[in-house]
Amino acid sequence: MSVDTLSAGRARRGFRDLPVPLVVIALAAIIYVAAAVITGQTNQISLPGLSGLLQRTVALGLVGLGQTFAILVGSIDLSVAALISSVAVLASYLMQGDPGMIVPAILACLALALVIGAVNGGLVAYWGINPLIATLSTGLILQGVLAAGYTYWSGRVAPEFQALAYQSLFGVPLPVLLLAVLALLAWFVLAKTRFGAHLYAVGGNPDGAKLAGLRVERFVLAAHVIASLGACVAGLYLAARLQSGTPWIGRDGIYDLESIAIVVIGGTVLSGGKGGVLGTLAGVLLFASLDASFNMFGVDAFLKQVLRGAIVIAAVAVYAVRNKGHVA
């Protein structure tokens, strides 16, 4: 259709207007391939190698999907790391190796995530507490309770549950499939439903959304619940992979900060209203390629942390530096 080609022609004028996700994916591919070639580990560019790369994206990718919703409505969720740990511990405690407890344990974890998401959303949307403080605090509360009670809550997941982390379906690792399905679902909700369109409206222009008759607070609340659900699934996956949860897996994975970073790298703006899950997937792929490349070059774990800190700051700065006015 002529109108569509015309619109495509208008939206793309030069490099600056290339879709961010594509640029990021290209960057990830270049880094990964270059690292493999330079270090002579060309076997990394094989199917098993790539499959390994994709598996690195799963945990952070799942958190990132949820975080995308929170950031799209102009909020943020710093409690995801603590929630991941809580879910992993809760799942392994409830299962105690018993396959019959898999479903109840998953339901209990989802319920916990719903509650935490609702509390976060309530504090932010209805009480008006700064989302950074509100979610930092709920994260602290969770983390403290978890660390205090952990000695009583040890356990391990059912062996059958570990299939979630280690089985393959049609040659595709199950966790990668899980991420793909949930990403598709998230994309579908954002791109194809009214609810998704309203989330963009609320994040992009809250006053305009109000004038258009939307109840802004409800959408912020819903986005926080979705962010918590993303963290919940990530926690379940990690529990399956590690056999049992510990109160530190979320914090040690720096999932709070890194999920924000991949969302922002993927082109979702921190003030809300623009972006989507494709960008988040691109962001997590970039992080995974960097991670894999560090490994190929034999960068030690601590130096990796240094580089990650620098990358997070640089990534946010690329978008933030154009802001007018004061930031504190």
Binding site: D4, S7, R10, A11, Y200, G204, A212, G213, V269
Partner: protein, 504 residues
């Protein structure tokens, strides 16, 4: 022909301020009814009542003869009242179609029906005479195109009444003309159009009837064929000057203190401007005249990108408020709450802020000129009334806060003082005190620049009036100029003679 819309005896007060006082208004199908009025006359408040954002204190709204009460913008929209808002409510990163349908997206089996959105959006835009692609991002559109999208959004529901609140304010002449064509077409389709504007040429070109509001009251409603531009302007400004303006200086102005030659930046063009010792220069203009951008440029907040600045005859570089303060320019911001006060600090600390900013970092906060007796003296000189100067400044009235910020700059002893909307939102007594202060400062040899949207204030206080129009200086008028003359310059309907020509 009966009226589609009737508003009877609408009254609305905010605190003690009556924004609307028993206003009667009606609009018929296939008619363009223009509302004129100065800033703050009540135009926007009336339309917010109509649109369901405000509930009136008194009076009633009738739609096609039946009384209606709206509690939420959504209800007014559903009833067939569409408003094109003055401030765009669009989502820049979403497509044209998505914007038009915000909050009313059509669905099919629970999914967004993008095809229908595109088709209906395209049809709407075609009706507006535009071929904007429906999948283009709003951020990629020109301001005029965005305005069209906003109008299409308003027309999504079959509008019986279409309200346009200064739709041409952001448009250049060509785009404004095509928008006016559109408004005329809407009228031909039988829509009742309410059009708010103070651009006289377009008002005279499209109006069927005209209503003038002033201070929340309806001055008159007349057929366009019965009125002249002069009659409208007179009605808009027709309030007697009050006698609280101070007497002007007996002597003429002194030497130039602040001079700008060829100043320009993104918002301003060809600024030649002089402020002399001992005079108050008033800067007038409508909301889209960018008169506050001129104030910001003078103070280095949004500096000139080209041109020459001289202070007391010497070239100066004013690239930031700090440089301006160091060069002897003072500044009273227009938005007291957002730009003036540090709300949780004490009155004294607010008054001392500029001195603290200029003092060595590790100097005592109460040393020398910053000593408590001196602060308290300057607060008393400005007649700032507070139970205790140690209390938070946010607890003071607006007028007293304003006086405290003036005191802040007086302690710095500036040579030039830029006042932006110095009396906005403060009571009459405090206004008079601030006028007296400005005059006293001028008499003491300072140059005063006053940017104001309040025309009587401009005329009552200024020794010279500079009128802005769309980022340029449209002309200059001497003290005591007629309001009509200022308004004509501001509206761009008259080539006013400059002061120099009048003198010769």
């Amino acid at each position: 022909m009966t009226a589609v819309l009737e508003m009877r005896g609408i009254g609305k007060a905010f605190g003690a301020v009556k924004a609307l006082d028993a206003v009667d208004f009606d609009c018929r199908a296939g008619e363009i009814h223009v509302i004129c009025g100065e800033n703050g006359a009540g135009k926007s408040t009336l339309m917010k009542v109509l649109g369901g954002s405000y509930r009136p204190d008194t009076g009633e709204v009738l739609l096609e003869g039946a009384p209606v009460r709206f509690h939420h913008p959504r209800e007014a929209r559903a009833a067939g009242i569409s408003i094109v808002h003055q401030e765009l409510s669009l989502l820049p990163f979403r497509t044209v179609a998505e914007n038009i349908f915000t909050g009313m997206e059509p669905t099919r089996w629970g999914l967004l029906d993008r095809q229908r959105m595109d088709e209906r959006a395209r049809a709407l835009l075609r009706r507006l005479g535009s071929a904007i692609p429906t999948r283009a991002l709003v951020a990629d559109l020109s301001i005029a195109e965005q305005q069209l999208v906003e109008i299409a959004k308003a027309m999504l529901v079959d509008a019986k009444v279409l309200v346009m609140d200064e739709p041409t304010a952001a448009l250049d002449d060509r785009d404004a003309r095509s928008l006016l064509d559109l408004v005329v077409r809407m009228k031909a389709e039988g829509v009742a159009v309410i059009y708010i504007s103070h651009r006289m040429p377009e008002v005279m070109a499209i109006a069927d009837r005209i209503t003038v509001l002033k201070d929340g009251r309806q001055i008159w409603t007349r057929d366009r064929v019965d009125v002249t531009v002069n009659a409208i302007v007179t009605a808009m400004v027709g309030r007697e000057l009050q006698d609280f303006y101070p007497a002007r200086a007996a002597t003429g102005p002194g030497s130039p203190v602040l001079e700008i030659r060829g100043g320009r930046n993104a918002l301003l063009r060809d600024i030649d401007f002089v402020a002399r010792a001992g005079e108050i220069v008033g800067i007038a203009g409508l909301e889209d005249s960018r008169k506050s951008a001129l104030a910001q440029a003078l103070f280095g907040d949004t500096p000139f990108s080209a041109g020459e600045v001289r202070i007391a005859g010497r070239p100066a570089s004013i690239r930031s408020p700090r440089e301006a303060a160091a060069a002897g320019i003072g500044y009273l911001p227009g938005d007291r709450k957002r730009e003036g006060i540090a709300p949780r600090q004490s009155v004294r600390d607010n008054v001392l802020l500029t001195l603290q900013a200029m003092a060595p970092a590790f100097a005592s906060p109460n040393g020398g000129a910053r000593s408590r007796p001196k602060v308290d003296q300057s607060l008393r000189d400005m007649d700032v009334r507070a139970g205790d100067f140690g209390q938070e400044i946010a607890t003071l009235s607006g007028g007293n806060q304003q006086k405290a910020i003036i005191a802040r700059w007086l302690m710095q002893n500036p040579r030039v003082f830029v006042f932006v909307e110095p009396t906005r939102g403060i009571d009459v007594a405090a206004k008079a005190a601030i006028y007296q202060t400005m005059r006293a400062l001028a008499d003491a040899g300072r140059a005063i620049v006053m940017v104001s949207s309040d025309l009587p204030e401009i005329i009552g206080v200024s020794d010279r009036i500079v009128v802005m129009h769309q980022g340029r200086i449209a002309g200059e008028l001497p003290a005591g100029a007629e309001e009509g003359a200022v308004m004509r310059l501001a509206l761009g309907v008259a080539d006013a003679p400059s002061v120099r020509e009048m003198a010769s």
